[in-house]
């Protein structure tokens, strides 16, 4: 099975109050959501809490809001070995290498970075530390086998209780050779108050030939001709599984093939650093809390997690 090369960025969309354990505890004292608003011109700034409507399980919430335009980040970077990308898609390894290198160059002294190599098994290159790493893209070399799902689980365990803007960035092509964690296991973790997943990748090229019935059309009338024909179908799609993770958690998908990888990653960092933090007292009730956020700005889209689960 051939899957696309990609980068999954997992941003910590919701943290919890100080004094609690890291971001996944589900007895929630305060809901904290990182919300990103953008229109065709990029991030929308200057919004106030009166511009937002936040519903938790269909009940409107009284919110507090804070805007950050150039927020320092807590980042956990996960990247599968470059060789494992080349093994499946040799043509994609150049883009991934360039994207990964650009990512490392975006780290500033104000940021904290941890890094994991998503080999089989995953290993940690760096615990959380301030500033750019002492290694370059060559550190992400480690054989043809990759276990990104296990690396994601391990990476989530690297975050501490900081309330800084957080992101988990995963360079992966979606192929997993040997994780003990399944995709479903990773997806389950996205139900917790935790990171958002932003997928940046190169889509899979699909080429299929299908046998279809042919038909004739006269005006608005279409008649089945009774004949079979072969039709070529082709297109490019993101790995559906990774896109699901991004959508569920308020992340985004960014296509590394959309342009120059360095510029794409730079734009991604602008997106990461520009955010609104919305907090509110959670309504009572266990189970799934569906969160709906709208903003009264024409043409603007809101990215935030779809909800959170309380045990």
């Amino acid at each position: 099975m051939k899957l696309a090369t990609g980068v999954v960025v997992l941003t910590a969309v919701a943290a919890l109050t100080a004094g609690q354990q890291p971001q996944f505890r589900t007895s929630v004292a305060r809901v904290r959501l990182d919300v990103r608003v953008a229109d065709a011109n990029g991030p929308v700034r200057g919004l106030t809490r009166d511009d937002f409507v936040v519903e938790d399980n269909s009940f409107r919430q009284a919110i507090n809001i804070e805007e950050a335009a150039d927020a320092p980040l807590d980042l956990v970077l996960v990247a599968q070995p470059i060789e494992s990308v080349s093994y499946i898609s040799p043509e994609q390894s150049t883009r991934v290498t360039a994207g990964l290198s650009a990512f490392l160059q975006q780290i500033t002294d104000r940021d904290r970075l941890a890094a994991l190599l998503a080999g089989a098994p995953p290993s940690r290159l760096r615990a959380f530390e301030y500033g750019p790493p002492p290694f370059d893209v060559r550190a992400f070399s480690g054989g043809i086998y990759a276990a990104p799902f296990d690396a994601i689980v391990a990476a989530l365990g690297q975050f501490d209780r900081s309330e800084r803007a957080r992101a988990l960035v995963v360079f992966t092509n979606g192929a997993d050779f040997r994780s003990t964690t399944s995709f479903e296991g990773v997806a389950e973790l996205t139900r917790r108050l935790g990171p958002a997943f932003v997928l940046v990748g190169t889509p899979v090229t699909i080429r299929e030939t299908a046998r279809v019935k042919s038909a004739t059309r006269s005006g608005s009338v279409t008649r089945d001709s009774g004949l079979m024909a072969e039709a070529g179908i082709s297109g490019e799609v993101f790995p559906a599984t990774l896109k699901i993770l991004a959508d569920r958690t308020g992340g985004i998908t960014v296509n590394l093939a959309d342009g120059e990888p360095g510029q794409i990653i730079a734009d991604m960092f602008i997106w990461l650093r520009t955010r609104y933090t919305i907090t509110y007292e959670p309504p009572a009730g266990k189970g799934w809390h569906k969160v709906k956020i709208t903003v009264n700005r024409k043409g603007a889209t809101v990215r935030a997690r779809e909800g959170y689960f309380v045990d």
Partner: protein
Amino acid sequence: MRELENLAEGSDDSPFTYLAAVSRAEAARAMRDRPGAVTWYLRALEIYPRSAAAAIGLAGLDPDGPMAFENVDTRDLYYAYPCTILTAEIHKALSNRVQGASPK
């Protein structure tokens, strides 16, 4: 399933016993049997205390806790298995195969 358990409960603490324990834990996870998965991951850790697969498996089941890389072995035999692409379909197929295995 019982055959896997017999293998995992073996007294020799061999790599095969370890792999059987992790595999049994994975089968439990696939069936949403969380207590069962914890039991068999813990059994794997008993056999191989520096197991990365068991540590990560447990971390995935209890994500409140930190993942301590200092204690895991980056040469974990589990990851030397022939490669697989873990899709839902493959998980289901593996689970069915494990369930279909009958003790001799």
